[in-house]
C-alpha cells in the first residue's frame, strides 16, 4: 500500500485540527478545577496520551493475532509499527505524568500513582520487544515471536494493574492521592476532543511509519533482484 496522500493527508489534517481545538479548549474554555487549580489542565494531555498508548498496544496485539491466524507476514510491520507508536506515547505519558506529579506534590515520581507505575512496567516490557526484534534474524519466525510477545503485552496490562493495586497494601503507603477531577460537561467535552486528536495523530503516525517501512522493504527486495 503506497502512501495514499489523500487519505493520510486528510487524517493528519484532522489530527492537527482536533489537537489545536483540544489545546485551545483546554486553556481558554474549560473551567478551572476547584481542587487542583490550573495544574489540572495537564489532565487533558496526560490522560489522552495514556489512553492512546493503550489503544496502540491493543492495535498491535490485534494485528499480531491476525498474523498468527492468517500466517500472513504482512501484519508483522503493522504490529511492529503500532508497538513503536505505543511506546512513544507511553514515554510521553511517563513524562507528562511526572510533570503533573511535580506540580501536585513536589516530587518527580510517586509509586502511589498507579497509572504511572503501570506505564513504567509496560515501558520495560515493550522495550524488551525491540531488543527481541533487533537480536533475531528477520523472517517469519521473528514475525511470529514478536506477535506472541505483543499478545503477552496486552494481557499483561490488566494483570499488572491488578498487581500494582494489590502491591499498595504492603509496599509504600499511598501518600499522595489526587481527586479524580469531578468532570463537568465542558471538561469532559474538552477531554474527548483532545483524545480524538491524539488517536488521530497516533493513527497518522502509524500510517506514515508503515509506509516508510514498507518502502524500505520494497527497496531491499529490489536491490536483491537487481544484484542477481
Amino acid at each position: 500500500m503506497s502512501l495514499r496522500n489523500n487519505r493520510l493527508g486528510a487524517l493528519a489534517l484532522a489530527a492537527a485540527a482536533l489537537l489545536s481545538a483540544g489545546v485551545a479548549l483546554a486553556f481558554y474554555w474549560a473551567p478551572e478545577d476547584a481542587d487542583q487549580g490550573f495544574s489540572q489542565r495537564i489532565f487533558y494531555i496526560h490522560v489522552s496520551v495514556a489512553l492512546t498508548a493503550y489503544a496502540s498496544f491493543g492495535w498491535a496485539a490485534w494485528k499480531a493475532l491476525r498474523l498468527l491466524w492468517r500466517r500472513d507476514e504482512r501484519y508483522d510491520l503493522e504490529s511492529y509499527t503500532a508497538v513503536h507508536v505505543g511506546v512513544m506515547f507511553g514515554v510521553l505519558t511517563l513524562v507528562t505524568g511526572s510533570i503533573w506529579a511535580r506540580i501536585s506534590w513536589g516530587v518527580w515520581w510517586s509509586w502511589g500513582e498507579r497509572q504511572l507505575v503501570l506505564f513504567l512496567v509496560l515501558f520495560l516490557f515493550y522495550s524488551a520487544y525491540f531488543m527481541l526484534r533487533y537480536s533475531t534474524e528477520p523472517g517469519p519466525r521473528r514475525a511470529r515471536m514478536s506477535a506472541v510477545y505483543a499478545l503477552f503485552g496486552v494481557v499483561l496490562i490488566p494483570i499488572s494493574f491488578l498487581a500494582i493495586r494489590l502491591a499498595e497494601n504492603f509496599i509504600h503507603p499511598v501518600v499522595f492521592t489526587r481527586e479524580g477531577p469531578q468532570m463537568s460537561g465542558s471538561m469532559f467535552f474538552t477531554f474527548l476532543v483532545s483524545l480524538a486528536g491524539m488517536v488521530a495523530l497516533a493513527f497518522a503516525l502509524h500510517q506514515t511509519e508503515l509506509a516508510g517501512k514498507r518502502l524500505d522493504l520494497r527497496l531491499q527486495e529490489l536491490r536483491k533482484a537487481l544484484a542477481s
Binding site: 489545546v23 487549580g37 490550573f38 495544574s39 489542565r41 495537564i42 494531555i45 496526560h46 496520551v49 512513544m88 514515554v91 510521553l92 513524562v95 507528562t96 510533570i99 503533573w100 511535580r102 506540580i103 495523530l201 503516525l205 506514515t208 511509519e209 516508510g212 518502502l215 524500505d216 527497496l219 529490489l222 536491490r223 537487481l226
Partner: protein, 61 residues
C-alpha cells in the same frame, strides 16, 4: 507566569518537542530512502545499457 502554568506549558511543550523530533528523525530516514532509490535507479540503468549491445549483435548472428 505562576509555577503551575510553567509546568503545564512544559508538559504540552514536551509533547510538541517529541513530535518535532519524530519528524526530524523521519526526514533522515526519508533522505536515506531517496539515496537508496537513486543508487538502485543507477544500477538498473547500467544493466539496461549493458544488455543493449548484446541485442544489437544478435540479429547479425
Amino acid at each position: 507566569m505562576t509555577t503551575a502554568e510553567k509546568y503545564v506549558a512544559a508538559a504540552y511543550g514536551v509533547f510538541v518537542g517529541v513530535l518535532l523530533l519524530y519528524i526530524v528523525i523521519y526526514s533522515f530516514k526519508m533522505s536515506r530512502l531517496e539515496r537508496e532509490v537513486r543508487e538502485l535507479a543507477d544500477l538498473a540503468e547500467s544493466r539496461a545499457r549493458a544488455s543493449e549491445p548484446e541485442r544489437e549483435q544478435a540479429p547479425a548472428l
